[in-house]
Symmetry: C2
Subunit: 324 residues, 2 copies
């Protein structure tokens, strides 16, 4: 086997499940495995070690990359900021725990950053001056790749793009407690909030969404829009505008080569419409040559990116320690 | 003379005047000279060559740094985007014109970028992960320094922070033609627009600003605020909020170590109030360790930064060609 083809294990550690697989050349090798996330740091680490041992039993492995929720110091590989999804996780010296037990080179990365690296690396976009991944899901996440390396910020909170402000009116509260964050409008929850505003004063004759009352969900809105319901369509149109406003601010800060749009909401986004709405809000020098790509890796982006960070560090393509 | 002390000439080329001086170790050496900007690219280049020749007659010079309005490709040193302040300037191969005639190493930079580099380099902030200069003047400009180098973006329009969106309501038009840019609120013009909104329906008994009618200026608003006029003070309070909203978005994209605040409006900004307003709008992990500094170099920042870029390129501290 060519040394360049020896895989790394990539692990995406979420609040409910762990997704793990072998990765080589930015692609999965074989089928990934999926196990429920146990509770508590010790049990999580045991589960990760078991997964790694299972892969090692049958394969030569170059290293381990772990994408985790929470704020990560990728130099020490410790979790330095908590997440509600993984109680007690803050303070866990994850890299040391895994590296010491497995003797495998280990890299720990924030999950949004890992996914951004995975997507951009797989698509050959990572050597651009600037590529930005925007993940439109229940919330909005992001990752910034500058000239081959992840941009992590002074306090490892770079690319927290969901909290860009898109209004100053204190109209909607974000789950973070702040007002008018992009995420409060441009996420799945944001679309639902927009629909709830739009159905106020409307009757069931005007929109099928009025019948749902308090039970209304994001999927109801998406279904209604697909079925041609006027309010559903208005909400989805507004949603595109809300997404474009935040992207416009990103454009005027970073002047990127491209965006990659991922996340559960992305399949409901019309990228051509989004590009037009963005051009309406952005200086032509920036928007004219800007590309917007859909995600290619889907839910495997985080584990692929985390593994590829290790592979690239070994190959000297990306210096993990130097790209904070 | 120690080689490290040989100065470079720094030139700040604006729409109405040219400011030039010798720079060593991020400081002016001797008095700068100031001449009116002539009209047309050929006359401007002649004026620059004359200024350079005057300095060379009496001093050993290491190179020339030119900060100019407009979009610049610093690799070729050509002006690739126009500015209304310098008609006909687009397309000028400025670096070649100066370097070929003077045989001095020449670097051309966008003026906001040069000023950001000058300020951060002089204050020892340039080796931070991320320092952002925000220039609050008639408009809003900016410059981003990442780990020692200027961040210029994919199309040399990185740091156009004045066009971050701070509203999605299409309330105010920016001079760029787009709606609700930060600059339409957080600049001197923005403060005036806010005051004009606030005086609507008020009488002269309520605010001295009502007497000015169409003649109202930004300085009138600042004077009224200083004198304790209620509307003047409200406008200045709102102004601080508007400035904080844009900075919050910058924080959530780049997670900077610090901001440097410069420009004509900056002396009316209460940095402690601004820091509090920013903390109200920003994730604690980002805002808690964030510093906000006032400009130290004032109007000389552009020429000092442009000259220092040349000095650092010669010294190998900053690779001019590699920091796009």
């Amino acid at each position: 086997m060519n040394k360049n083809d020896i895989p790394a294990i990539g692990i995406d550690l979420g609040g409910t499940k762990i997704l793990a697989g072998m990765v080589s050349n930015s692609r999965l090798v074989g089928e990934p495995v999926r196990v429920p996330t146990p509770s508590g740091p010790e049990n999580i680490i045991s589960a990760l070690l078991e997964i790694i041992a299972d892969f090692q039993r049958e394969h030569l492995i170059l290293g381990v990359g772990i994408a985790t929720a929470g704020i990560v110091d990728p130099e020490s590989g410790a979790i330095i900021g908590s997440t509600g999804n993984l109680p007690g996780w803050e303070g866990t010296p994850l890299k040391h725990a895994i590296q010491n037990k497995t003797a495998l080179r280990t890299h720990v990365e924030n999950d949004a950053n890992a996914a951004a690296y995975g997507e951009c690396r797989a698509a050959g976009l990572h050597t651009n001056h600037c590529s930005i991944m925007v993940t439109l899901g229940t919330g909005i996440g992001g990752g910034i790749i500058l000239k081959g390396g992840l941009y992590r910020g002074a306090h490892f909170a770079g690319g927290e793009v969901g909290h860009i402000k898109i209004s100053m009116e204190n109209r909607r509260r974000c789950t973070c407690g702040l007002w008018d964050c992009w995420e409060a409008y441009g996420s799945g929850r944001g679309l639902l909030a927009t629909a709830i505003e739009l159905v106020q004063g409307k009757t069931a004759a005007q929109s099928c969404l009025c019948e749902k009352g308090e039970e209304l969900t994001t999927n109801d809105v998406l279904d209604a829009a697909a079925a041609g319901d006027l309010i559903g369509r208005q909400a989805l149109d507004k949603y595109h505008e809300h997404v474009a406003v935040g992207m416009s601010s990103l454009c005027h800060v970073l002047d990127p080569d491209c965006f990659v749009i991922s996340g559960g909401m992305s399949k409901f986004v019309d990228l051509n419409l989004l590009k037009d709405l963005l051009a309406d809000r952005t200086l032509p020098r920036i928007s004219e040559k800007l590309e917007i790509y859909p995600s290619q890796l889907g839910v495997a982006a985080g584990l692929i990116g985390a593994a590829q960070l290790v592979l690239d560090a070994v190959a000297g393509v990306e210096s993990v320690a130097n790209t904070r």
